[in-house]
Symmetry: C2
Subunit: 366 residues, 2 copies
């Protein structure tokens, strides 16, 4: 447990230092677009590091479908991230109905296989094929829900392999996962941070949000939730509500939402660190970074630039400083690093590269 013990003398603000956070589902829809990708990667990782995240696990999809589905796309993505990452990062690759062999060939350069909901719903035999072909020691991330959830867990459990369910969105799904976890420790899950704070009551048109009843179940069963995520939900929500979609929606307010819950006594700092650092590192086999984040619990968070799902205001808590490899990269919540020094990390083997990044550094991953 972390003690909130330090105090900022000048302002009497409480501060606490935590390890660099892990974003397990960084939404960078142009990741395999050589033209638009680099600026988007820079913007998203800037927002992430300013928000306390020092590692970005990149989602292989946009709102219109999977974007990293074979070696060719992964090669483009690798060129996109070069000198554009303010955090360390790792790739995940997307399964589709017809890329079983293609995607398996990406395994050595990716941290996980991502099973998108839309593409694989009701396709049990294809999912089974993907699980057979993906290396057993590598993680699988499933967006599965309701009718697809039990079948993907079943298929993974028949292979005695790990599976991570991302973006659990209703209480029946979490209840099933919790039942499975009693017997089968290789199943893990995350809940979207925003869906802990906004519900179908706030956005009746967004059926992918939990109902207030689901949300209540999440809060009463935080022990069953291994990780928190951000993902593409804020963007999807902006889409259905007709709000402006810009790069990096939902990132900046993610931690302030959780810190406000700490301030109101609903969770502890340790609950956050477990779900945004300890468990993500274990689940995805991400090596320890030399990265710390100084949190200010009494900072008044105001979010002005972008539309945000949570519009009720009153958020308190934010990032004061971020240090990576003993270097200050964020100060007073703003990026101060002059270079994008983020490095690719494939599972527990950090890719050895000279610092500063040289042109040849990423060549082995292509």
């Amino acid at each position: 447990t972390l003690d909130v013990s330090e105090r900022d003398a000048q302002t009497s603000h409480r501060t606490v230092t935590i390890p660099g956070l892990i974003n397990i589902s960084s939404y960078i829809p142009n990741i395999s677009n050589a033209v638009k990708g680099p600026a988007e990667m820079k913007e998203v990782t800037r927002l992430l590091v300013e928000s306390g995240f020092t590692y970005s696990q990149i989602m292989p999809k946009s709102t219109s479908g999977p974007v990293i589905t074979d070696e060719q796309y992964l090669k483009v993505a690798n060129s996109v991230v070069k000198d554009s990452a303010y955090t360390d990062f790792g790739f995940t690759v997307a399964a589709t109905a017809n890329n079983v062999d293609d995607v398996a060939r990406c395994a050595k350069d990716a941290n996980a296989l991502f099973l998108p909901y839309r593409e694989l719903s009701n396709k049990v035999s294809i999912v089974a094929e993907h699980l057979k072909n993906w290396p057993i020691e590598k993680q699988v991330i499933a967006e599965a829900k309701t009718s697809d959830l039990a079948s993907v867990i079943l298929l993974a459990s028949l292979q005695n392999r790990a599976i991570h369910i991302t973006g659990v969105s209703n209480k029946d799904d979490l209840a099933l996962i919790m039942t499975v976890k009693e017997k089968q420790t290789k199943v893990t899950c995350d809940v979207n941070i925003h869906s802990l704070f906004v519900s179908q009551d706030d956005y009746p048109e967004a059926l992918f949000l939990p109902t207030p009843e689901d949300q209540d179940f999440f809060w009463r069963n935080l022990d069953g939730i291994d990780a928190f995520s951000i993902g593409s939900l804020p963007t999807a929500l902006a889409n259905v509500t007709g709000n402006k979609v810009v790069t990096g929606l939902g990132i900046k307010e993610a931690l302030p939402l959780l810190l406000s819950a700490v301030n109101s006594g609903k969770i502890t700092i340790d609950d956050i660190v477990e779900r945004l650092h300890d468990n993500p590192a274990k689940i995805f086999n991400i090596p320890e970074q030399n990265a710390v984040v100084e949190i200010d619990l009494d900072f008044t968070f105001r979010h002005k630039k972008r539309w945000t799902p949570y519009t009720k205001g009153g958020l308190t808590g934010g990032v004061e400083r971020v240090l990576v490899n003993d270097e200050t990269v964020v100060l007073s919540g703003d990026l101060v690093a002059t270079e994008a020094k983020g490095q690719p990390v494939v599972n527990s083997a950090k890719i050895a590269t000279p610092a500063p990044p040289a042109a040849s550094e990423l060549s082995h991953v292509t």
Copy 2:
């Protein structure tokens, strides 16, 4: 394998002798109704034995819901069957959303726990509770399909317990079951005999029937189907089509449908015996009976008394003679036994009773 070697000299009809068949889902909706039950039990078991079945595993439900859900109902059912069974028989008991403890107390006197579709759809945590409370050595029968199928198999597999899926009705479900069976031998399934011969093409209003595509998949994957059943499907079909519902719908033509498929070369006699005798006996731990059935493969089957799902006619094959304990109980397809001597069988321990049945014989099961 059984050879079709005997010949009926007088008529040049081919005959074959097979073991007494097992009906794993005998539909007797008034089984727990002390007034209507006995006549219905007599009629259904008469039709069954005339059709080659010498063992009836009784379904615990009517079309309006479960009928054997606790010890009290099981006690009534036991009084109903007394001196009313022309076959040996066994009880199964129905799980509901709120009888976890009640139904578990019936375990010693029942062969299996039955999980009805309607009552338990989407109730994962209740199904989990039932599976926890039901003795691990006793079979569980699930009507689960589509979205509920994977979750019930998952829950059973987490407990490493057997589960039998009854009435598989579409190709996705059979494909999932076949995938699971590659790794997990404790999962078995049956397909309804009628749904191998009539489809949604014949009855568009009956969405519980397979489509022609599903049916085609069943025929191409008979190896994945452990057993054949009759169950309540013919009655449900009469209901939705506005045909007259009478006791014992679908029984008499079940074997002739399969024998006609033998005659047209689609299956073998052995395929039938495996799915209506060998596998049912193994799956439900039913002890070997001293019962043989003489089949006439060239008998022209005509079904006149009751409405039948299969209306295309042209069925060839039927029961000539049935012998139980070396006594002829059916001759030329008609019941000749004067007494209903069927005995309760609880799993592999046949209940020891004096013959003829005495008033005290069933008292231990109540």
